[in-house]
């Protein structure tokens, strides 16, 4: 006997991808952001092979060419840099290194930080103390010093740079996660899971992590911008990525001295960073809603109306 009280108008569940697309379509900003990011990704993958040569082609007579000269080849539409190299091409080519460094550092720090944070929040006071004091140490270790030490001892390479940037960002994730875990683990559903015999691992990853995740995603997307800029600061000090490699951060720091004379040198790569961060953030806000059952109707409803 079923005492089911309501008989909802059952609409069959759509396949997963279609549902995601529907939800994405429902948030036009996120949709545009996703498209933008896909383009950026694709360009990052093919950029160096496609435009690498062009991006390195110097022309001292065409230095600091102003942007918006539609008469020229399209790669010059955003102007040229101090060596007359086409900025648009350079931005596209630089995308690869930039995304590699930024996503490498962000993912590494987020994963390690979150993991340690989960442990610190969930385990006994002793382990937690050790982890937290470690975080304190990293937090008060100036990032530049870490950079100098690591890059001096291990040599400069993209991987080492990623490691340096990642180390310095670990404490935020660690502390945020721990703080949230401390609160969430007191919630009843966590206790319910424990009663069912769920292992600590399961409780951490299935019950606690999903609640912390939205905050962490927000942080991570913001850190994307942070890491790109930090990388540019390191380059500026002579450690980190150096020409002829290019990243957006490096382009910004190279354009720095031309700020008042040729704004476009650092403006366009800056814009690239801003747009990427913005897109990531729009997408992470969207994801936050899409992953939250209590909020999800916002997307599903609109998706339905439109589609």
């Amino acid at each position: 006997m079923s005492l089911s009280s309501t008989d909802p108008l059952i609409i069959p569940e759509q396949p997963f991808l279609k549902r995601v697309f529907g939800m994405l379509w429902a948030d036009k900003f996120a949709f545009v952001a996703a498209i933008f990011l896909i383009i950026v990704l694709v360009l990052a993958v093919i950029g160096p092979d496609w435009l690498g040569e062009l991006a390195g082609k110097q022309n001292l007579r065409g230095r600091n060419l102003a942007p918006f000269d539609w008469g020229r080849e399209w790669v010059y539409w955003l102007g040229a840099d101090a060596l007359g190299r086409p900025l648009l091409a350079r931005i596209i080519v630089a995308g690869q290194n930039t995304l590699m460094v930024a996503s490498g550092a962000v993912v590494m720090s987020a994963v390690v930080g979150t993991f340690l944070g989960l442990i610190a929040g969930f385990s006994g006071p002793r382990v937690s103390q050790v982890i937290m004091r470690l975080a304190d140490v990293i937090m008060s270790f100036p990032s530049l010093l870490i950079a100098v030490i690591v890059l001096f001892l291990l040599g400069s390479s993209i991987l080492n740079l990623v490691a340096v940037l990642a180390i310095t960002r670990i404490p935020v994730y660690l502390r945020t996660t721990r703080a949230e875990v401390l609160e969430i683990k007191e919630r009843m559903f966590v206790q319910a899971a424990r009663v069912m015999g769920a292992s600590s691992r399961r409780i951490l990853f299935r019950h606690i992590l999903p609640v912390v995740l939205p905050t962490l995603t927000t942080l991570a997307t913001l850190d994307f911008a942070y890491v790109m800029l930090a990388e540019s600061a390191l380059s500026f000090l002579g450690i980190g990525i150096q020409p002829p490699e290019i990243t957006w951060g490096l382009m910004i720091s190279q354009g720095r001295q031309y700020l008042t004379n040729a704004w476009w040198l650092s403006f366009w790569p800056g814009l690239a960073i801003i747009l990427t961060t913005l897109s990531l953030n729009l997408l992470s806000n969207w994801m936050r809603i899409a992953l939250d059952p209590v909020q999800r109707w916002r997307l599903e409803m609109k998706g339905r109306k439109n589609g």
Partner: protein, 539 residues
Amino acid sequence: MADHLLEVRNLSVDFFTAAGVVHAVRGISYHLDRGETLAILGESGSGKSVSSSAIMNLIDMPPGHISSGEILLEGKDLLTMAPNDRREVNGKRIAMIFQDPLSHLNPVYTVGWQIREAMTTHGMAQQEAEAETLRLLGRVGLPEPEHAVGKYPHEFSGGQRQRVMIAMALALRPDLLIADEPTTALDVTVQAEVLALLKELQRETGMGVLIITHDLGVVAEIADRVVVMEKGVLVESGTVREVYKNPSHPYTKKLIAAAPGKGEMHRPAVKAEPLLVVRDVRKRFGAFDALKGVSFDLAAGETLAIVGESGSGKSTLARMLLRLDEPDAGSAHWKGRDLFKLSPAELYKLRRELQMVFQDPTQSLNPRMTVYQLISEAWAIHPDILPKAKWQERVAELLVQVGLSADHMGRYPHQFSGGQRQRIAIARALALEPRLIVCDEAVSALDVSVQAQVIRLLDQLRRDMGISFIFIAHDLPVVRDFADYVMVMRKGEVVEMGTVTQVFDTPREAYTRALFAASLDPDPDVQAAHRAARLERAS
């Protein structure tokens, strides 16, 4: 004719969900006058809470949507009122007691602060509000109000939280009080006090009371009129007597017929080898002795009901048996091993044998998991119980067993009514096929017909599979129907313990007798007689 205090006309509420539109309330109408008490009875999930939320303007819109109707407060439509005026109405003119006190209290503020705020928001001076808070907490029967005001919600027992909710709602002496299952977590003596308090206030201020309840006894005790809902539709209305004596709609008939407390009492067999031996368990919270030495035995296939005063330590005891809190002293031997001394690894192995249904269902369900995930998690943790291919089928089966339907599987907890959530929690506990289930007020939010169904289910499991139950409840008729042994608790101590027949038929202790005396009868006539007798005793 003057306007009614409250008139609901043709109200319909829909919810948007991924699986489609849920018509939670469909064109219901009723009214309520000053000084009157209207009870809404109905099956769990029939739209009672939703319709009252609509009156309070608390439905999230969207995904909710009031598709038709008017809600008139003294002739003025609340649905079309300007937001600022509307806000003034809440708290001051209409107040609400929520069904699920834990999640409805702000975890980071003291209860005193939260009650005071109701008053200061509407212009009362701080000092006055403080005094009033103390008075209110005293009136709802919370012990040591001076102490209680400074405590946080998580430091209270379920019933105590409910009383905090009540105090908060009564703070401004509203014209209309909406009480959504206000007494489910209260023991009968406190329940009686609270109901008396409502009546008294009603007399003083002419307050109209809209009470949502499953307890026919409460209806008989307090209500003037009653409406019955089923599947979002209002199926019957009338005075309490009319409806009880002459139900016209089949659902109403079924409901009244299902009222507990009429069947045979269990007669437990001679004591078998005890499965669980609890000895002298003690627990302190700060300076407060929550448990002062509790001991009992429990054998396989037996049900021990724990009844007693709200705040007497029942949930605390349950939580300690499951090692969610650490006891200060005592032992609990499960199949000869002391639960309190097990290492985490050993405990893990025992987990699937001991399960618990929590008192606050909302909070005990992970809001990010669907019903399917919630229930099947049991098997993900203990893969040997059921192969993955069968999960879907078994979840559906369990849902139907507890009176839900298979197509609820993809929904999330927030999309359910209080009673439905409670059933999900029960289904989850059953999924593990444990040896012992601790049910902390597990059926209190269910309407009597579903309650009967669930009790039957549990009883059957007990018989067929030898599952033991520790059944914490306030509802004495349910206890009477289901328990083998009854343990009465008060102030952290066991007052009386015995077989169900012994405790119910020949209670030894005064407190136990007081409990029975305060118990309510679903028959309005019987209840009226009780009331008269009580008044006589009092005077």
